[in-house]
């Protein structure tokens, strides 16, 4: 049988602003049979999206296809004219972007945007296209398929928007659909529905697909074959089951092991050593945004009566979906958003609600580390300045003493000393996050609030950061509050896990009991929605009652 897609020795190069030519894709070859879904998996920068885009004959700005061929149904898109490619896009090959929210025009109704492909290519009449769109909405399990198209993009949820983006891609009956990390930005409970909708639609219509993702567990559910990429080269190609269970290439092994949930094995601590006073205690915190109402509470409540405690040398995980208030909890504890009610105790002593009123010493003992190291590091200041500031601010270090301590801190987070002279823009994501963490360590804190610090990192990098956190904890006697939406990360480092939903605590569990020890229906749903490295997982999970 002839393959639908044949990629032979594909090469893509990029020209940097300085005029240097950098190869991005270095001779990639693979095939896609009709009706087959192939996943491209790899870390950021591995070239997976670049390859997916070449299937439409498109490259990002500054990039060029420098060699090889990409044949779709026997026709080479590399050597096509732009006009030929235009007729190809939407009808033969369609694209589902990562962020559907950014892909929809906020000023137009959804239905008009979904059927736009039919209008551009003039493949069917408008009433036909509308009928087809409704049919697709139904197939993608969208609520109220007859009328959802009359809404505007802001009137539907993120998961629904992602399915609408898929409908937009499928309306032209393409032979090949490219999914570019379509569920990465979604919560796990939403992701599972979107995945299920994608899978059934693709299976029913017998379309071939390219699924780009960094998440092996997601890919395991939907792909027939997996292409593992690194640095623009294919590491391994194989059937999904083979890649998952009998990986050949060491890099695939590394990816798999970074994904395996490793429970936090801490040396058994004698019970009597545990001090009766927890290092951090949160009692009945209420917090929110907007003007204060007559009841003394803010207009928009985000946290309602949240309490938790953190023993010295232990780690508390806070897990929940976006909007559950977990980041707000960190901000409230740090005093950035003073709680309207309730209190925060550090070592049994009450802290002032707002950070501006707290003493320097109290502030020093509790540090906060943010999710995005890109925005958490001042781009205009050198790494040495960034780490050095808490040293002079809290400890009054100057000159050579300060430089020595900066070097020591960089070493602690496994970065070379010479990095002190670089600017944040010159570092990779993982390095930036280490600097971000070193800045918190510089204060010699007792408690560190980690707000999704590994969420923006690749799995392998994130696993290394987690290892580092554990090591530093052993050496420096730290306690972490670890906020994440990712259960496996939380499991890897925490003693106790607090599940949050809608600004309230659902339940607190011991990490050892996870995930089966959950009793509350919400935590059960949350834990069961986390993709497993098992090809049959998606089909085994019962559909969520909508």
């Amino acid at each position: 049988m002839q393959n639908l897609v044949e990629i032979r020795d594909l090469r893509v190069k990029a020209t940097t602003d300085a005029g240097n030519v950098v190869p991005i894709i270095k001779g990639v070859s693979f095939d896609i049979a009709p009706g087959e879904i192939v996943a491209l998996i790899g870390e950021s920068g591995s070239g997976k999206t670049t390859i997916a885009l070449t299937l439409m004959g498109h490259t990002r700005k500054g990039c060029d296809i420098s060699g090889g061929e990409v044949r779709i149904a026997g026709r080479d898109v590399v050597r096509m004219s732009e006009r030929q490619r235009q007729s190809l896009r939407g009808t033969e090959v369609a694209y589902v972007p990562q962020s559907a929210a950014a892909a929809f025009n906020p000023a137009l109704r959804l239905l008009d945007q979904v059927i736009e492909v039919a209008r551009i290519h003039d493949t069917m009449t408008m009433p036909q296209a509308r009928a087809k769109a409704v049919e697709l909405f139904r197939a993608l399990a969208l609520p109220d398929p007859e009328n959802i198209g009359k809404r505007y993009p802001h009137q539907v949820s993120g998961g629904q928007l992602q399915r609408l983006a898929a409908a937009m891609a499928l309306i032209g009956d393409p032979k090949l659909v490219i999914f570019d990390e379509p569920t990465t930005a979604l919560d796990v409970t939403t992701q599972i529905e979107v995945l299920r909708a994608f899978k059934s639609v693709m299976r029913d219509r017998g379309m071939a697909g390219v699924y780009v993702s960094h998440d092996l567990a997601v890919v395991a559910q939907i792909a027939d074959r997996i292409v593992v990429l690194k640095g623009g080269q294919v590491q391994e190609i194989g059937d999904t089951a083979q890649i998952l269970h009998e990986p050949v290439h060491p890099y695939t092994n590394e990816l798999l092991s970074a994904f395996e949930p490793r429970s936090f094995a801490r040396p058994a601590r004698p019970a009597e050593v545990t001090p009766p006073v927890p290092v951090l205690e949160v009692q009945g915190v209420h917090a929110g945004y907007g003007p204060t109402g007559p009841n003394g509470l803010p207009y928009k409540m985000v946290l309602r009566n949240v309490s938790c405690r953190l023993e010295k040398g232990c780690n508390l995980g806070v897990i929940g979906e976006s909007g559950s208030g977990k980041s707000t909890l960190a901000r409230s504890i740090a005093g950035l958003l003073p709680p309207a009610r309730g209190q925060v105790l550090l070592d049994g002593r009450r802290l002032e609600p707002a950070s501006a009123q707290r003493s320097k010493e109290d502030l020093r003992r509790m540090q906060i580390v943010f999710q995005l190291a890109d925005t958490a590091l001042n781009p205009a200041r050198s790494i040495g300045d960034i780490i050095g500031r808490p040293l002079s601010f809290y400890h009054g270090l100057r000159g050579a003493e300060k430089q020595a301590r900066i070097a020591e801190l960089l070493e602690m987070v496994r970065l070379p000393r010479a990095m002190a002279h670089r600017l944040p823009g010159e570092l990779s994501g993982g390095q930036k996050q280490r600097v971000n963490f070193a800045r918190a360590l510089a204060a010699k804190p007792e408690v560190i609030l980690c707000d999704e610090i590994t969420s923006a990192l690749d799995t392998v990098v994130a696993a290394a950061v987690i290892e580092l956190l554990k090591e530093l904890q052993r050496e420096l006697d730290l306690s972490y509050v670890f906020i994440s939406h990712d259960l496996s990360t939380v499991q890897a480092i925490c003693d106790e896990v607090m599940v949050m939903n809608g600004g309230e605590t659902v339940e607190t569990l011991r990490a050892a009991d996870l995930p089966d020890g959950a009793r509350h229906p919400y935590s059960k749903l949350l834990f069961s929605s986390i993709p497993q490295l098992d090809t049959g997982w998606l089909d085994s999970v019962p559909a969520r009652a909508i």
């Binding site: 502030l363 906060i368 001042n378 809290y394």
Partner: protein, 280 residues
């Protein structure tokens, strides 16, 4: 081993040719403004030529003006007024505007509201009219001119800086600094200012040109630099009658203004990346 000297290039302050040329022109005019009057060939107020709009000769290097005064000396003297007054007021306007703007953005609350409305009110007065009234009331002198021009251009600089600072103020690194317990002056100087130097410098260049033009306008109304001295703008204005004759008296000051304002802007646009935008 060869000894390496810390040249600008080695320190990372690389500049392109356009920037270097522009810097040279600005530097030359700045030097002229400082030491130029010592090299004047004639007294700028003295009538030395019987011809008016005289051509370039050995005695009169840049010809003579509409009264027969030496243009070369008048341009050298004018440089002092144009470069000096404009530079002083642009520095005053932008420095105070940027500091107030950043303070308002960081402090917020009533301080921000009151200051913003106050400066909006000031902005609503037509600039020429305001200058006219102020100079007419207090009397024209160089410090008064500098102050009036600075006050006129302060609200714009404030608005610009505040808009930039408000955006930077919401970045995580500012939040981290707040959580660390840093006070406003540190936030303003170390966290916010380094991230807005590029746009602010571009704004300085633009405002400098506006001030040169407004200064010429005030001089035209007889409220700027007082005769017999004149800034470049007034030199153009008083010799405008020489335009049909192609007199150097009108062309040379025009070239002087153009070269200065264009160079200032080119210089700022081509500043080394390390100064202009460190985040790039």
């Amino acid at each position: 081993m060869a000894v390496t000297f810390p040249t600008p290039r080695r320190l990372g302050y690389r500049m392109n040719l356009t920037g270097a040329l522009a810097a040279l022109v600005v530097l030359v005019w700045a030097i002229v403004a400082i030491i130029g009057p010592w090299f004047m060939t004639h007294d700028p107020g003295e009538i030395v030529d019987f011809e008016y709009f005289g051509p370039i000769t050995k005695q009169l290097w840049l010809g003579s003006d509409y009264l027969g005064r030496d243009m070369f000396s008048r341009i050298l003297m004018g440089a002092r007024y144009t470069v000096g007054i404009s530079l002083a007021s642009v520095v005053l306007a932008c420095a105070s505007g940027v500091v107030l703007g950043m303070t308002a953005a960081v402090t917020g609350g009533w301080f921000d509201t009151v200051l913003s409305r106050l400066l909006d009110a000031l902005n609503s007065i037509p600039s020429k009219l305001f200058g006219l009234v102020m100079v007419a009331a207090v009397g024209s002198s160089i410090p008064v001119l500098i102050l009036v021009l600075a006050v006129i251009y302060l609200p714009g600089a404030y608005r610009f800086a505040r808009a930039l600072a408000v955006n930077i103020n919401t970045m995580d690194y500012v939040t981290v600094a707040r959580a660390r317990g840093e006070r406003s002056p540190y936030l303003i100087l170390n966290e916010i200012l380094p991230n807005m130097t590029g746009p602010v410098l571009a704004d300085v260049g633009l405002r400098f040109v506006f001030i040169v033009l407004l200064l010429s306008g005030l001089s035209f109304l007889g409220l700027g630099v007082q005769p017999p001295y004149a800034d470049w703008g007034s030199l153009v204005r008083e010799n405008i009658g020489g335009l049909p004759f192609g007199a150097p008296a009108v062309i040379v000051p025009s070239i002087a203004i153009a070269s200065l304002t264009i160079s200032v802007n080119l210089l700022i646009d081509n500043l080394p990346t390390k100064i202009r935008d460190r985040s790039e």
